[in-house]
């Protein structure tokens, strides 16, 4: 159990940093592209401004990622032994293809401003972006196998890889990938929206921030809309390949055809029923899950109790994520509209909403990840190995000590990350040109 908490914490922390990195590097690379194409120094300043925020955050993604790479061995040794043949390969490819690329290129990008031509520098920036996206591919391919194992045989009590391409082109992984990437873009876009809103509220750097917003609002709409669309297909993907997770996400107890979706539900897992069910839309669950109102949907009661995921957690994580997604889409459209009409400066309330919406995509992303991972329980690899069988035979005290250290250390890291991001975000783009960036307030 301690190992589970520790792993959930390390992945959770890692997943705080990574989505912002992926979203922000793409945005930064777009800014630099605009700079190289238009020659407008405004975009260079913006590139450096957003780039600096990216680098602060990226580092912590790297740092927490290193810990994860080794944690599979330290805490999940039995899982690693069972699965290494398959799970290790994407991780090794990730290191070779993605980690080297992003790490080396980032050094070149940050410190190469005066050493490279504009175009080469831009190339380095896009290669960092490519590296982060590739890195996400491989880790999600590895996770995709855990969700929907393909391309393997069980041999001598171990899963052995027989077809790498099947693992790579696992449809489950790619559904998850596009959905996750759009989620990362939302985090990045809302981060930019919030920081820009802060500056507009304080009437500073107005031109710069409006230029940022022009791109960022479109980015935010594309991201949230993309999330809704890919989310829908991902739901169908779950329905097809992990009906137990779907049942838990919907808190659906009775199997049946033409299943409706109550808009308001409060599940009561102890009594295998829902305490509240209201505003039922007929056939919606069937239609959303399988594209037909008549489709059969598996209910929780037809799943043996020891193979059911925790219903409450899965259900609430999923519902809250969807709700937040809708809210974010509305906010993005409003911001885009007013920025286009140039009426954003008068909309103080909207600006404040934008500022305080920073945590929303974070929460949504982490809830999405919880839905995916908790919904897979009790399995580590769906249908193959359970979580209880995966853990390392390590002394309780060792895990407890390292867990304590991890919590303290990561809390410090998050604190520093937030402190520095706020400091430099507040200081604004002009301060980037001075060596000693002064806090503006």
């Amino acid at each position: 159990m301690l190992s589970r908490i520790q792993f959930a914490l390390t992945v959770g922390f890692h997943f705080i940093f990574v989505p912002l990195s992926i979203g922000l590097i793409l945005f930064t690379a777009i800014m630099e592209t605009l700079y190289v194409r238009t020659g407008d120094p405004k975009y260079k300043t913006l590139t450096k401004f957003w780039g600096r925020l990216f680098t602060i955050n990226f580092l912590l993604g790297v740092v927490t990622g290193v810990a994860m790479e080794f944690q599979f061995g330290t805490n999940w040794s039995r899982y690693s032994e069972f699965m290494g043949d398959i799970f290790g390969s994407p991780l090794a490819v990730e290191a070779l293809m993605a980690f080297f690329l992003e790490s080396t290129m980032l050094g070149i990008w940050i410190f190469g401003w005066n050493k490279l031509s504009k175009k080469m520098h831009l190339l380095a920036g896009w290669l960092v972006a490519l590296g982060t996206h590739l890195s996400a591919v491989w880790i999600i391919v590895a996770n995709g196998f855990m969700q929907n194992p393909v391309g393997y045989v069980i041999n001598n009590g171990r899963a052995e890889l027989v077809n790498f391409w099947e693992v790579l082109f696992n449809p489950y992984a790619w559904h998850t990938y596009v959905h996750t990437i759009f989620a990362c873009y939302s985090v990045g876009a809302f981060f930019v929206l919030a920081v820009s809103a802060y500056h507009l509220l304080h009437k500073r750097n107005i031109d710069m921030m409006k230029a940022s917003l022009r791109i960022a609002t479109v980015f935010a709409i594309v991201a949230t809309l993309g999330n809704a669309i890919t989310g829908h297909f991902n739901g169908q993907n779950v329905a097809l390949r992990q009906p137990t997770k779907l049942a838990a996400m919907e808190a659906l107890w009775e199997s049946g055809s033409n299943v409706g979706m109550p808009l308001i539900v409060i599940p009561d897992a102890a009594n295998e029923r829902n305490a509240v069910e209201a505003l039922k839309v007929p056939g919606l669950t069937s239609w959303l899950s399988y594209g037909s109102t008549d489709a059969f949907v598996l209910g929780l009661k037809d799943i043996p109790a020891d193979e059911r995921p925790p219903v409450g957690l899965t259900f609430w994580a999923f519902r809250t994520m969807v709700g937040l997604g809708v809210l974010m889409l509305l906010l993005a459209v409003l911001a885009w509209w007013h920025n286009r009409k140039d009426t954003l400066m008068e909309r103080k309330t909207l600006l404040k909403f934008m500022l305080w919406s920073i945590p929303l995509p974070y929460i949504a992303t982490n809830l999405g990840w919880m839905t995916a991972e908790v919904g897979r329980q009790p399995w580590t690899v769906y249908g193959l190995i359970t979580t209880a069988d995966s853990v390392s035979p390590v002394a309780f005290s060792d895990v407890a000590i390292s867990l304590g250290l991890v919590i303290i250390f990561y809390a410090i890291l998050v604190g520093l990350d937030v402190y520095l991001l706020i400091r430099y975000a507040k200081a604004g783009p002009e301060a980037m040109d001075e060596r000693h960036a002064a806090v503006a307030d």
Binding site: K48, T55, I56, L59, L60, V62, V63, V66, E69, F70, F72, G73, T74, N75, S77, R78, S80, G84, D85, I86, F87, G88, S89, A92, E94, A95, L96, M97, F99, F100, S103, T104, M105, G107, I108, I110, F111, G112, W113, K115, L116, N155, E160, L161, S392, P393, A395, D398, S402, L405, F409, L413, L416, L420, Y424, M432, D433, R435, A437, A438
Partner: protein, 342 residues
């Protein structure tokens, strides 16, 4: 390719990755430790600013070594990392502290107190990583308390004389290389002279510890067996020794880049020598060789090894190519801190 051949190739790759890692990140870690020695404002700024663009690329080699161990030798990965649970966690914390310190040093350049703290974090983190990696490899060379039930050692049993000696060897060699790097990058004569004399003074220490280690090794480990069976292999450690001498020659000449190169190759070849002595063991048992994890009993399936082999053949050249690019940009003599308009 036959399964045995692939297993041997992967064993060699495994050793090679560790050798490259210690060769490259070794001087980073050494340079990091020097943050405790070169504490003056400008000195420290140049020291850390010279590390900033390259440490991350170097560190990826250890992640790759870990990933490759997972992919090619899952049983080894699982056993080794859960056996060395606490030391590995301290290494991880060290690596994380090092990374955070280097980056935040510059992000917090508005506050000297913070910078002082980061300087110490960097030094201590780098030291722990260097020492404990040495201790870990010293213990692997010696053999582990491994039987049918698994691993029985504790962190105290790992801190035995031979393990510690290997750790000290890593520390002093890395310090010497780190000082060469600093001398190479130093923007002014004063810092260069200071770093130069540190490297020169470190060299005899490396020599003494290395000699002690070489003498101790046949008594503490079975590494000699392979060399005695195939005497031509003695060329590898002999080359390591020759390069250590060459390091001194280049230091004398004041050619710090070549001194660094020779010093890093010394480190790399020492690791390779150890790995040659280990073959085919990867995590030997001290209790009974029957429980040792070898290249042959802990590897992945034939398909995985073959597939991953091609992945490495295709991607490793690219990695080397752009890492060379990075060093061409940031390895120039006398540029000092690379941090300007951040």
């Amino acid at each position: 390719m036959s399964h045995e051949l692939l297993q041997v190739i992967w064993f060699a790759l495994w050793g090679l990755l560790w050798a490259i890692y210690f060769g490259l990140d070794g001087f980073d870690l050494g340079s990091g430790m020097l943050a405790a020695v070169f504490r003056k404002d400008e000195e420290q700024r140049h020291l850390i600013g010279a590390l900033a663009p390259i440490w991350d690329g170097n560190e990826v080699w250890v992640i790759t070594a870990g990933g490759v161990t997972f992919a090619a030798f899952p049983k080894l990965y699982a056993t080794m990392f859960s056996a060395l649970y606490l030391p590995l966690f301290i290494i991880l914390f060290g690596l994380m502290s090092r990374a955070v310190a280097i980056e935040f040093y510059h992000h917090m350049d508005y506050d000297r107190t913070w910078q002082k703290i980061w300087g110490w974090v960097l030094a201590v983190g780098s030291f722990l990583v260097a020492l404990l990696f040495g201790v870990a490899f010293g213990n692997i060379f010696q053999g582990m308390l491994l039987d049918a039930q698994g691993y029985h050692g504790t962190i105290v049993s790992l801190l035995n004389p031979y393990g510690l000696l290997t750790g000290v060897l890593f520390v002093v060699a890395f310090l010497m290389n780190g000082a060469s790097w600093l001398a190479h990058k130093a923007p002014d004569g004063e810092l260069r002279n200071k770093a130069h004399s540190f490297a020169t003074r470190m060299w005899p220490a490396v020599l003494v510890v290395a000699a002690g280690w070489l003498v101790y090794t046949p008594f503490a480990t079975k590494l000699m067996d392979n060399f005695l069976n195939v005497p031509v292999l003695f060329l590898v450690p002999a080359l390591a020794v020759a390069l250590l001498v060459l390091t001194r020659v280049y230091l004398q000449k004041g050619n710090h880049l070549w001194a660094l190169l020779a010093g890093s190759l010394t480190v790399g070849l020492t690791v390779i020598s150890g790995v040659i002595g280990l073959f085919p063991n990867m995590f030997p048992s001290k209790i009974d060789p029957a429980y040792s994890l070898t290249a042959f009993n802990s590897s992945s399936s034939h398909y995985t090894l073959q597939f991953m082999f091609w992945v490495v053949v295709i991607f490793l050249p690219f990695v080397l190519l752009y890492q060379v690019w990075a060093y061409k940009l940031f390895g120039r003599k006398g540029t000092g801190s690379e941090v300007q308009h951040y």
